[in-house]
């Protein structure tokens, strides 16, 4: 089957088949990344703009490498301040970008839904590299690929997601993806970080304690605590947070012995993950980063509607 969307903004907008297609394409892309010369001409002559309104070295670099491996010309635009305070609206930015005739715009923006706003106005493809607390589809896909690598499947797994669900776009993409693929998702975190009605997003259970969520889990995804974004009212401090919602060798024993531990990074060591766990045998954090490039190559490839040339 083919991929019919101009843009990739949210996993919840995709079908199960489309998500499977993206993951299997990423599996094929991985072969390119292990070659001596890591480049194919698939997107030769195409222009990709990485438009980042929030700094994120790793996601931007990952998209940039993905574009370059497919031979696209990639340009980075980093807007350190918000569009509004700069005096240029996103609409102005959109018109300027349109005039430069890019083929794909990869955007990160602090406002949920801003990618839909842009996609409606631009004829080129938009890929969401994170919008506010809405979605982060490439992260969701790379999480799924990493789990599929380990278990060979995505259905029938118990996936625990722990931390600040309210403000996490990773959580929303993961929930959309995993529940669509037939896994059960268990959430844990302080009630101040649990958004209303979240259980209605799919096959999702909100747990009262971290223990309930990670008990017998196949996968544990720990979310990053971003104190700067949440203000001061959600938790007393990181010390108490790590005590009740951090993953350490002791509470990791509640999960299956070979449970996968994942984290979208960058890790606050000693807060969400103790270093023993972050660097331990259960950790798949670096594997996630590796898979990130392949997944982003698959996304760029499918929105550009090209055929894979592997000469």
């Amino acid at each position: 089957m083919g991929f019919k969307h101009k843009d990739i903004i949210a996993l919840k907008d995709l079908s199960k088949d489309e998500i499977e297609l993206l993951i299997s394409t990423a599996e094929n892309m991985r072969e390119i990344n292990s070659r001596d010369i890591k480049k194919v001409p698939t997107l030769r002559g195409k222009t990709i703009i990485n438009l980042f309104y929030e700094s994120s070295t790793r996601t931007r670099t990952s998209f940039e490498i993905a574009g370059k491996r497919l031979s696209a010309d990639t340009v980075n635009i980093t807007a350190s301040t918000s569009s509004a305070t700069k005096g240029e609206t996103l609409l102005d930015t959109a018109k300027n970008l349109e005039a430069m005739k890019p083929d794909i715009v990869v955007m990160r923006h602090a406002v949920s839904g801003s990618h839909y706003f842009l996609a409606k106005r631009l004829s080129c493809s938009i890929i969401n590299a994170g919008d506010g607390a809405h979605e982060h589809p490439s992260q969701g896909l790379l999480d799924m690929l990493t789990i599929k690598d380990r278990y060979g499947r995505l259905d029938g797994l118990k996936v625990a997601i722990v931390g600040d669900i309210t403000h996490s776009r990773v959580a929303r993409s993961d929930i959309a993806g995993f529940t669509m693929m037939g896994s059960r998702v268990f959430l844990a975190g302080p009630p101040t970080m649990m958004p209303p009605g979240v259980e209605r997003l799919g096959n999702v259970t909100v747990c009262a304690t971290m223990k309930e969520a990670i008990q017998d889990a196949d996968v544990i995804i720990m979310l990053r605590i971003q104190q700067e974004r949440q203000g001061k009212t959600l938790i007393p401090n990181t010390r108490e947070y790590s005590r009740y919602y951090g993953l350490n060798p002791e509470n990791l024993k509640w999960a299956k012995p070979d449970a996968m531990v994942m984290h979208p990074g960058p890790i606050n060591r000693g807060v969400e993950l103790s270093s023993y766990v972050a660097d331990g045998a259960n950790s798949h954090v670096l594997k996630q980063v590796e898979n990130g490039v392949a997944v982003r190559m698959a996304m760029l490839y499918h929105v550009s509607g090209g055929t894979l040339v592997t000469e």
């Binding site: 949920s112 839909y116 607390a133 929303r172 209605r200």
Partner: protein, 424 residues
């Protein structure tokens, strides 16, 4: 000039009238109601058969943006929109630039409305100077200059002691306080109702408790000070429960809701449509049900639009950046008539909430067709079907979530002081 409105279904709750009658208007006043009314020769006649004739509708909560933000709306365009919506009077909120906290601004609004406006404009002054929430405004002079109420609409009075004093002071001046009930610390950076939809969209939510808590405070202060209080744009089940209980205790509290709170839920925000962004935000189906129940049982006294025009550049933005508010004057009547179709309200009760009660609450001599009263009359065609079309709105701004809706019912004639100011 004289006018005979013939054979319409006259609904005037102020006199308990609901029957087919003729109305004769002479020198701007209602002269006679009856069957087979004879008019002097040369009297202009409106054939109102099949139409509904009511006291002129009154929107007690609009933003005319004049002075200061005339690029969004001004008194001329805003009152044209009002006339097109069947309104003969509007009360305009003081969050203009400068704020209507003094005689000069009040007088300017009244003079401009008299000279160039299509309908009556009754200004609302501010509760505090500059609506800054620090010092009481000169409510005595505001009232004397023509203000019909005071409100810091757009900004709640956050200081409880100041709100207490405002209620006490306003009572002494014989002017009523209209509360914009919102606990700002609970609203925080929220941009839509907090609930399942905000969770799914990843937008920061505004809890219903932000409205309920503020409503409760103001209702208790009204009870404590024994002062009349009107709560603007009520949107939550909880606020309505608080107001219903207070009314039962005899607290002098009245309230209004707006058509969007009984016509839409926060589902309208899906797709990040900034025309569904308003304050208070669109709530859940539960709240919509509660609003309808409260309209039915009389907890809600009035339907007002909170007509809030914004320029396209202030709406065509990412959701977080867009301004709050929608235009409402031209869709209020048709949306409200749906309540009659749905069996929530009878037509006379609807007319009560759109004409008689607003006049009573504001204490203005309108909202009736009693012989001798000012001939402000709305003639409604309940069968007219039309499409809400941005190009056809008289308002300068087009920020409506109802664009494209196929609707039924419209003003056929709007008559102010005996003069036809709008004809469909």
């Amino acid at each position: 000039m004289n006018l005979l409105i013939q054979g319409g279904r006259v609904i005037d709750p102020s006199q308990g009238i609901d029957e087919v009658l003729d109305i004769l208007v002479e020198n701007g006043a209602v002269k006679e109601l009856g069957k087979g009314v004879k008019a002097p020769s040369g009297t202009e006649t409106i054939d109102a058969s099949g139409l509904i004739v009511t006291p002129g509708l009154i929107d007690m909560h609009v933003h005319l943006r004049d002075p200061g933000h005339e690029y969004k709306e001004d008194i001329v365009s805003g009152t044209k929109a009002a006339a097109a919506g069947g309104f003969t009077s509007v009360a305009c909120m003081p969050n203009t630039k400068p704020v209507n906290d003094n005689k000069a601004v009040t007088s300017y609004i009244i003079a401009k409305a008299k000279a160039e406006g299509s309908v009556n404009v009754f200004p609302v002054g501010s509760i505090t100077q500059g609506s800054k929430g620090e010092l009481l405004s000169e409510m005595g002079e505001l009232k004397e200059s023509g203000c019909v109420a005071v409100s810091d609409d757009g900004h709640p009075v956050t200081n409880s002691e100041l709100m207490r004093r405002a209620l006490e002071y306003a009572k002494g001046m014989g002017i009523m306080v209209i509360s914009h009930a919102e606990d700002l610390s609970l609203v925080g950076a929220g941009v839509m109702n907090e609930g399942f939809v905000s969770t799914e969209l990843g937008l920061k939510g505004i809890p219903w408790a932000a409205e309920d808590a503020a409503t409760a405070r103001d209702v208790y202060l009204a009870e404590f000070t024994d002062s009349p209080l009107h709560i603007a744009h009520v949107s939550t089940k909880g606020s309505l429960r608080i107001i219903r209980n207070a009314k039962a205790r005899g607290v002098k509290v009245t309230c209004e809701t707006a058509p969007h709170y009984f016509s839409l839920t926060d589902d309208a925000v899906r797709g990040y449509d900034t025309n569904a962004k308003m304050n208070p935000p669109l709530r859940t189906a539960d709240d919509v049900t509660a609003v309808k129940e409260a309209l039915k049982d009389g907890t809600i006294d009035a339907i007002a639009t909170d007509h809030a025009p914004h320029h396209i550049d202030e709406k065509d933005l990412e959701f977080n950046e867009a301004l709050n508010g929608i235009v409402g004057l031209e869709t209020s009547l048709t949306l409200s008539l749906r309540l009659v179709e749905e069996g929530v309200l009878t037509l006379p009760v609807l007319v009560d909430k759109m004409a008689c009660n607003p006049a009573k609450i504001l204490g203005i001599d309108r909202g009736t067709l009693k012989p001798g009263s000012v001939a402000d009359i709305t003639v409604i065609d309940p069968k007219a079907t039309w499409t809400v079309d941005a190009d056809k709105l008289a308002s300068k701004s087009k920020n409506s979530p109802f664009l494209g809706w196929e609707v039924k019912g419209a003003a056929a004639f709007t008559i102010v002081g005996g003069k036809v100011v709008y004809k469909r």
